[in-house]
Symmetry: C2
Subunit: 246 residues, 2 copies
DNA sequence: GCGTATGTTGCGTCATGTGCAACGACCATT
DNA sequence: AATGGTCGTTGCACATGACGCAACATACGC
């Protein structure tokens, strides 16, 4: 809708992958240098971009500030942080994620890096599919049946690995199961050789607002081993829920 | 310069402090609802903003993603992270910061929270003055004499506490000392009752690109106690430098 | 059922953002 | 020191696209 705002955001996206000169930005946005200059200047005034001695553009401090403050705004994140870290320790340094749903995707809003050499690729703010992640299944399972089916119907069910569930009916019945038993798993359905389990986190009104997951490479633990971590996971989500209600 | 980009960024800034309705945004930006709607839609398309069921606006995942990626771009941050955490542990859970200079200010790009009850107010991305922070002094001291004096001359030297240095000559001579001995202190010059020490971090070309600081409330350690942590600090910056050169 | 608060759409106006072309600053090479 | 090249910056004229208004739509409270 708003062209210059859009382009400004494109610049931020571009700068996320490293410093750029004006010309480079102009090229990647497909606009004239002059236009980029003006946008950059506005971004710079607001400190969303800063330029070094050589006039190269970097992301500016205000962006980081806004993101930092904004993340802590997520009321769940604040409460959950300490529990996530404890969970990571209790499970011997596995990767732990906190995720919420946003516009048909899962978005990670906090993570604790695995201490193992093999790491997953995940980032705060990175969207992931709903249908092939444990957190996605938990979040979908929590929806009232009608909306859940509507959401499933709207998904692309893209296949990421041989085990990805691509049939809507199979996904629907798995979500029912997830809803009943209160946790979900992802058996290398998103990333090959990575297994996850996830469980929901509730707000004061008992609605599911987020999910916590543990992700483990096959090399570290087999499937049974991952499911064996379930008590730790459920203990963690219960602790977050409890603190959340208080 | 660019009005709509500016307003879009204002919206992000506004949303950093919590969810807003369209009308609230319109009021705080001083523009018509329609205008806000269009800007928000653009922001939403790019996932810098997301709206919930009640149409309230929140910061969106793309913003977090860009910030997350961008922070890890800072080559120093990546290398330093583990050393900062070790420093925090070695000093008994003091607050540790990593900062760089940006446009006449210090900006924190990473931090480890203190484990003590008394905490400082600091945030990633938050700018702080150069003249009354230990990190600021380190970063200024590293400049070639002429530029250093120019920067000092351009500072406001605002007083934050009774101990804030407000005379340019005093600051200049202190910076010389800092340059010689390789570390700086802040004796409650920025925040009352908080003492800091800081030391520089160098890049592969041996230029100072960042500074690491330890901040301690008076209640926890007196001035001598803080200076007593110096060996830990210098060990940390030396370790970062070494890894950085490798 | 009406009234209010809030989000959304269509439209005419003109401010704003745009590309072009020329200028300037800086660096490297000779 | 002179030259060519790269990159950032400025002035200007044009028309796009952003703006506010007013009317419509929807949801909630009484």
């Amino acid at each position: 809708m708003s062209q210059s705002l859009r382009r400004g955001l494109d610049i931020l996206g571009e700068l996320a992958s490293g410093a750029r000169t004006l010309d480079e930005l102009a090229a990647s946005l497909g606009v004239h240098k002059t236009t980029v200059l003006r946008l950059v200047r506005t971004l710079e005034e607001q400190r969303f971009v800063c330029r070094d001695d050589q006039h190269r553009c970097h992301l500016g401090s205000r962006l980081f500030h806004v993101a930092d403050i904004g993340l802590e705004q997520h009321p769940i994140r604040d409460v959950a942080a300490i529990h996530l870290r404890r969970l990571a320790r209790a499970t011997g340094g596995q990767a732990v994620h906190l995720a919420v749903a946003e516009q048909g995707h899962v978005v990670y809003i906090d993570k604790v890096e695995s201490t193992h050499a093999v790491r997953m690729y995940s980032r705060i703010g990175l969207p992931a599919p709903l249908h092939c992640t444990a957190v996605g299944k938990v979040l979908m399972a929590a929806l009232p049946p009608r909306r859940r089916d509507a959401v499933v119907a709207g998904l692309e069910l893209r296949s990421f690995t041989p085990s990805t569930i691509t049939r809507a009916s199979a996904l629907r019945s798995q979500l029912e199961l997830v809803d009943e038993r209160g946790w979900a798993e992802d058996v290398a359905e998103h990333e090959a050789h990575v297994h996850c389990i996830a469980a929901p986190v509730h707000d004061a009104a008992d609605r599911v607002v987020a999910a916590v997951s543990i992700s483990v490479p096959e090399l570290v633990l087999d499937h049974a081993g991952v499911v064996g971590l379930l008590p730790h996971l459920l203990e963690t989500t219960a602790a977050i829920d409890a603190e959340h209600r208080a």
